[in-house]
């Protein structure tokens, strides 16, 4: 009788526990959804003057940094809930490397905590692909550390594939940002404010050829080891890697530009090489 009663008691409490977990999970899902929507709403537009534009940007950054902190707190509480990784992925949002002054952009206190949590709880997840893609266009040191850790430790082939090509993109893009700072030293102040004085100095001291060589090696590895892995946005890792390699080998300063051929806005066929003998500025543009 004692044992049966104990069994009954255990059953009831585990049902109650399960119901409690479901309630908590549902509540967290709602909270994440609310934060995600608030995050999306925090965008600005329609500013007329430069000063107004800076004010809009400052508001957006401040708002998003605040929401990012709440997302990190949600992830901290819910470390065993899949929603934690969704929250952290949304919290890592500064992947645009426009060098806004630090007075406008403000500090991002969520970033360090987000990556500490990612390192501690999520490094072996099979859902890290989107975050790898997202940080590949960023500049922060934490993004490089994270991508290298995923590449080394994640057991899922598809995730390692995305981390490999993302790290190659990251190194290539970051080097292009440094070229910009070398050309316009007055931008150094903005980059230092956003990312750190020592970090920027270390990057500027790095040999360009070495940074590009590592990116090329990672692209080659991605194409060779993971070429067929499909990407969520379409295409394969192999295609992205080969495009990155093409850019490093043929579209860098000092290379003869590949020829371009197509129709202009009048339907007339022409080539870039038609303009040999002239200085040419190629402008890739899009209409909003």
């Amino acid at each position: 009788m004692g044992r049966a009663a104990a069994g009954w008691f255990v059953l009831l409490s585990s049902v109650a526990e399960a119901a409690g977990v479901q309630e908590r999970t549902a509540a967290r899902a709602e909270r994440f959804e609310a934060l995600r929507r608030a995050f999306e709403r925090a965008s600005g537009g329609g500013a007329a003057s430069d000063e107004e534009r800076m004010q809009v940007i400052a508001r957006v950054f401040h708002h998003r940094n605040r929401i990012a902190l709440e997302l990190v707190e949600l992830a901290e509480e819910a470390s065993d809930d899949p929603i934690a990784l969704d929250a952290l992925t949304t919290a890592v949002w500064q992947v645009n490397t426009t060098p806004w002054p630090i007075e406008v952009a403000g500090e991002d206190p969520a970033r360090g905590r987000a990556f500490a949590l990612l390192q501690r709880d999520h490094l072996r997840s099979d859902r890290l692909g989107p975050l790898c893609q997202r940080v590949s266009s960023g500049f922060c040191g934490e993004y490089e550390t994270f991508l290298r850790a995923v590449l080394d430790e994640n057991p899922h082939d598809a995730v390692r594939a995305q981390a490999c090509v993302a790290l190659a993109h990251f190194l290539k893009n970051r080097r292009q940002r440094i070229d910009l700072v070398d050309e316009q030293p007055e931008l150094a102040r903005e980059f230092e404010g956003l990312y750190g004085v020592e970090y920027l100095a270390a990057l500027r001291g790095q040999e360009r050829a070495q940074a590009d060589a590592e990116a090329a090696a990672l692209y080659e590895r991605a194409a060779a080891d993971h070429g067929d892995v499909k990407l969520p946005g379409g295409g394969t890792v192999g295609e992205q890697a080969r495009a990155g390699l093409f850019e490093l080998r043929h579209l860098s300063v000092g290379k003869a530009a590949p020829d371009l051929e197509g129709e202009d806005q009048e339907g007339i066929r022409f080539k870039l090489s038609d303009y040999r003998g002239k200085v040419v500025l190629i402008d890739f543009w899009h209409q909003y």
Binding site: T97, T98, S137, H169, N173, Q176, D179, L180, E183, Q184, A243, G244, F246, E247, L251, S252, V253, G254, K255, A256, A257, P258, L260, G262, E263, D264, Q265, E266, G267, F270, L272, S273, Y275, R276, G277, K278, V279, V280, L281, I282, D283, F284, W285, H286, Q287
Partner: protein, 101 residues
Amino acid sequence: MKKLKDRPFALIGVNVNGYDPAQLKAAMEKEELGWRSFADPGPLGRGPITVSWNLTATPTFYLLDHRGVIRRKWVGGSGGAVLDSAIERLLREAEGRGSPR
């Protein structure tokens, strides 16, 4: 860049919206853009030129010298003064006045 009319310079656009030439012409008239642009038909950002040049951000600029060599590259825009002085230096090379860097 308006003063470059009589100098060996060309501004060539590549539109990445994926418009065909007729759509591109309409868009350029609406935006009041006069310079020659390649149409790159296909899904937005996925036309053959945009894909093969691995575009990740607009605007992206490539500055070529008169021999077709890439001398500068700016992904995601650049300051106007930097662009102007870079163009000027390459124009002098093309005109035989400057010394190559």
